[in-house]
Each structure stands twice: as C-alpha cells, then as structure tokens.
C-alpha cells in the first residue's frame, strides 16, 4: 500500500508543484533574458531584482475577470485550456530525473512512444480553443497552429525513431543507460537528429522563430485572443510546460539525461559528485535558455516558408537520417 499508492501519489504531487513553480520562474527568466538581450533591466520592482515577479504574475492572472464571449461554445471554451495543459503535465510521469526508481514516478517499456502520443493530444486544446471562441482570428490561428504542430510532429517522431534504432529500447531510463554504457552522449552519435529534434521542438511549442500562430501583428494574439484571466493563464502554463517537456526530451535523448559530461573519462569523474538530478535540471534550464535566446535573436518565419521547411526539408532529412542509421546499424 505504502509503496504502490502513497509514495507515487506524493511524488506526483511534488512533481506537479515543481513543474508549475518552474513555469512561473521560467516566465520571469524569459522576461529577464530578453531584457538583457535588449540592454534593458526587465522587471525590477517586485522584490530584489524582480524575483517576486514570478509570484505577482500568477496572482494578477487569478484575480483578473474571466470573460466568456457571448456567442462562444461555453463548455468547449472552458475545456480547451484544460485539454492543452493536462497532456503537458502527464508527460512528466515518465521523465526520469535520476538513476534510481526514487527519481521517477514510473519507467514504462514504451516510455518514448508514451511521451510522443501524449504530447500529440495537446493539439486539441489549441484547435478547440480557437473554434470555441467563435471569432475569426482565433479560428485562423488555431488552424495554423495545429497544422504546424502536426507537420513538425512527423519530422520529430521520424527523427526519434533513428535514435531508438541506436538504443534498441523505448524506455527513457534505458535510453540514458545506453548512453552511459556507450560512454558517449547521443548528441555526438546523432548530431543531425539533434538539430532536427531541436528545430522541430521549437516549432511544436510554437516558439520564435516559428511563433506564427501567435503572430501579434497579423492575428491579434493567436488562438487565445478571446481568453482572459485564469483560462488564459492555463494556455500560458501549457506552452511553457511544453517547452520544459521538449527540453527534457532533448536532454534525455541526446545529452545523457542525469549523466555528468563524459561519464567514462576518469579525469572528469569529480563531476559525478554533483547529484544526478541537479545535472538533469541544469541541462534542462540550459536548453530553456537557448529557447529564449533564439526568441530574442531570430525574426519570424513566413507561414508558407514554415510549412515548406517542415515538409520539404526536415522530413526528408529525417527519413535520410533514419535510412543511414539503419544501414550503419546493420553494417557495424
């Protein structure tokens, strides 16, 4: 009873809270990093260096009036933000933060497929949010967003298959263990796959330079134009939670999860003194920083260029990468 019910429930509670708190600080981090990139200070008023802004923002969002548009489909309108947030949080149930079973909720045989399939459920929130608003800009934006999400998902999934081919397992723990046994992160084994997954991840989370669905200049804010207050903040949470998910997947697949850099080099063994979960979370935040950095640097794609990039560049490269990996696997 203790081991099968209470402990997992406690872990889930801690994990959910940690993710949601991490998201609020991620928003602060984004504002700060972009401010520094533009030679500004960013939020400075609330607390020392504006750190308490991470608490002030959610309070503001909760206290705001929550409006449902008059002609909107009420139930679907309420359901859509939930449908986009829940899958993003469910994914964390299989993310391993460390080597022992203590550091993850569950390690399932089909872990990676589970991650892919659960994140693919997140599309519904976007499509339904746009549709239920009963307003033309959100509808256009949601069609754009979902088309983008689905097409980049193909490229990302294809690429992940080539990584699975090298590990021979779908379990996320198994994938990290394979990197420890190989003594080499897959970033060095599969550099092309890393690039594809990272670009695809940017597009799947609707981040700049692929943030067309939220293009303020064309679509007045995207599929959540009609949302306000708490329901808007659920969409917001979902977007940032998805960023963390993509970073976690990239770190697990290509940067050795909880492993210290170069685990098999004896000269670097002092790096193992740092606890595994700190390595994992540190790597995730490094990637989140790169996400924000890219947003501060690159201009937005045009929509047809974006779809062209997905279908005519990324997917062919992904298939090519898969074929080459398969041939090498058989030949070696």
């Amino acid at each position: 009873m203790m081991d099968t019910v209470v402990v997992p429930l406690l872990k889930i509670a801690v994990l959910l809270n940690a993710v949601l708190v991490a998201v609020t600080f991620l928003v602060l981090m984004e504002r700060k990093v972009i401010a520094w990139a533009q030679s500004r200070l960013g939020p400075m008023r609330v607390g020392p260096y504006g750190i308490l802004q991470a608490i002030a923002d959610p309070i503001k969002l909760i206290l705001k009036e929550d409006i449902t548009p008059a002609r909107a489909d009420k139930y679907v309108f309420t359901l859509a933000p939930i449908m986009s947030l829940v899958p993003a949080l469910v994914v964390f149930s299989v993310v391993p933060f460390g080597p022992d079973p203590f550091y993850y909720v569950s390690d399932i045989n089909v872990g990676l497929l589970f991650v892919i399939s659960v994140t693919s459920i997140g599309v519904y929130g976007i499509i339904l949010g746009g549709w239920a608003s009963n307003s033309k800009y959100p509808l256009l934006a949601s069609l754009r967003a979902s088309a983008q999400l689905i097409s980049y998902e193909i490229a990302v999934t294809m690429t992940l298959v080539s990584v699975i081919l090298t590990t021979g397992t779908l379990s996320l723990v198994g994938i990290v263990e394979a990197q420890r046994e190989g003594g080499l992160w897959f970033a060095f084994v599969q550099p092309v796959a890393l690039m594809l997954v990272f670009i695809g991840g940017l597009a799947e989370t609707n981040r700049a330079p692929f943030d067309l669905p939220e293009a303020e200049t064309e679509l007045t804010g995207g599929f959540h134009t009609e949302y306000s207050g708490m329901r808007f903040s659920l969409f917001f949470l979902a977007e940032y939670a998805n960023m963390i998910v993509i970073s976690a997947v990239v770190v697990i697949m290509f940067f050795g999860g909880w492993l210290a850099p170069f685990p098999n080099v004896p000269a670097l063994s002092f790096l193992g003194l740092v606890p595994a979960w700190i390595w994992f979370i540190g790597k995730i935040f490094l990637f989140l920083y790169v996400f924000i950095w890219i947003r501060a640097t690159l201009p937005r794609y045009r929509y047809d260029q974006l779809m062209g990039l997905g279908w005519k560049v990324l997917i062919p490269i992904a298939i090519g990468n898969l074929v080459v990996t398969g041939i090498l696997k058989v030949a070696l």
């Binding site: 045989n109 089909v110 459920i121 549709w131």
Partner: protein
C-alpha cells in the same frame, strides 16, 4: 476485484460516450466524445497487457485520425444543419431495429461460443507455437510486449506489413488528389 471495478467503470464510460458520439447535435462535440472514448479504450488495452497497441491507439487514433476529423468538421462549416433535410424514404427506426437485431445476434454468438460464460481456459491453443508470449527478463514495470510484437510483425507478418505501408501510401496520394482543387 480491482480489475472488476476498473472494467465496469470503463465499460459504462465507453458505452456512454459511444452513445454521446452518435447522438450529439454538434459535430464538434461528437468528435470530442470520440477522442475521450478512444483514450478510454486505450486504458482497456493496458488492462489487457497490450501496452504497445494502447500507445499506438492514442498516437494514431486520438492524436492523428480524430484531429483529421476535427479539421474536416471545422472546414465544412455548414450554413444549414446537415440533419435538417431528411429523405422522405428514410425510416430511422428501422435502422435502430436492425442494429438491435445485430446486437442480439452478436451476443447470441458470443455467449454460445464461449460455453455459457465459462472462461475458455485454452492456454496457447491457437497458433501459439508461432507467436508465443515469451517470458521476458525482469524489465521495467510492464512486460516486453513491444519487443515481441515488433518481432512478430517483422517476421511472420512481414508481407501484410509491407502491404499495409503500400495501402497507406496509396491512401495518402488519393487523399491529396481528392482534396486538391487543381492539380
């Protein structure tokens, strides 16, 4: 006991959602009920030790096919509700009656062939020599269903598998040809 509770809950929800799918007024609501229905069926598959198929169900059905339905429902934004015009020759109650007859027949077949409800304890009776549930090492939480399924799919069922991939290719080309205005 736990299995019974989960099964009955799932059964009630799956059937209830199925009824909602065919009775909802708005097609978008129908699609939503369909998604939840598919997710619950996936849970049923996990109960039956078919983890890989469960995940594929979520990935392909809930994450792919139903999204396609949702797209079409939204593209086909109707000026008049499609249910307004009924063919005068249409007799809806015959449909329900026919379906009821089909159900009776299916139930009769099921009950008759299962020996009056006794679980047919046929351990490895049908073609089990070809595709056994091999014992797996002490793996993670679940059995290594995925590896076995992959093995069977790429050995005994290789040709059907290739034919299925061909079918998907043909369907893709067909869908593009049908949906594109000008080629």
């Amino acid at each position: 006991m736990a299995e019974a509770i989960v099964f009955w809950t799932l059964a009630v929800l799956i059937l209830g959602l199925g009824i909602m799918v065919i009775s909802a007024r708005s097609a978008v609501h129908s699609v939503l009920f369909l998604v939840v229905n598919f997710l619950l069926v996936a849970v049923l598959y996990v109960m039956l030790n078919a983890e890989f198929v469960a995940v594929i169900q979520v990935l392909v059905y809930a994450g792919g096919i139903v999204v396609l339905y949702l797209f079409v429902v939204m593209l086909v934004s109707l000026k008049k509700a499609p249910e307004r015009y009924a063919d005068p020759r249409r007799v809806a109650w015959t449909g329900t009656l026919l379906a009821g007859a089909v159900l009776l027949e299916v139930v009769a077949i099921v009950v008759a062939s299962s020996g009056g409800g006794e679980p047919a304890a046929t351990e490895g009776a049908l073609g089990a020599a070809d595709t056994p549930f091999a014992e797996c090492g002490a793996g993670p939480l679940v059995s290594c269903n995925t590896e076995q399924l992959g093995w069977v799919l790429y050995t005994s069922y290789l040709i059907p598998f290739e034919v299925a991939s061909m079918l998907l290719l043909v369907a893709m080309i067909g869908a593009i040809v049908l949906a594109k205005r000008h080629l």
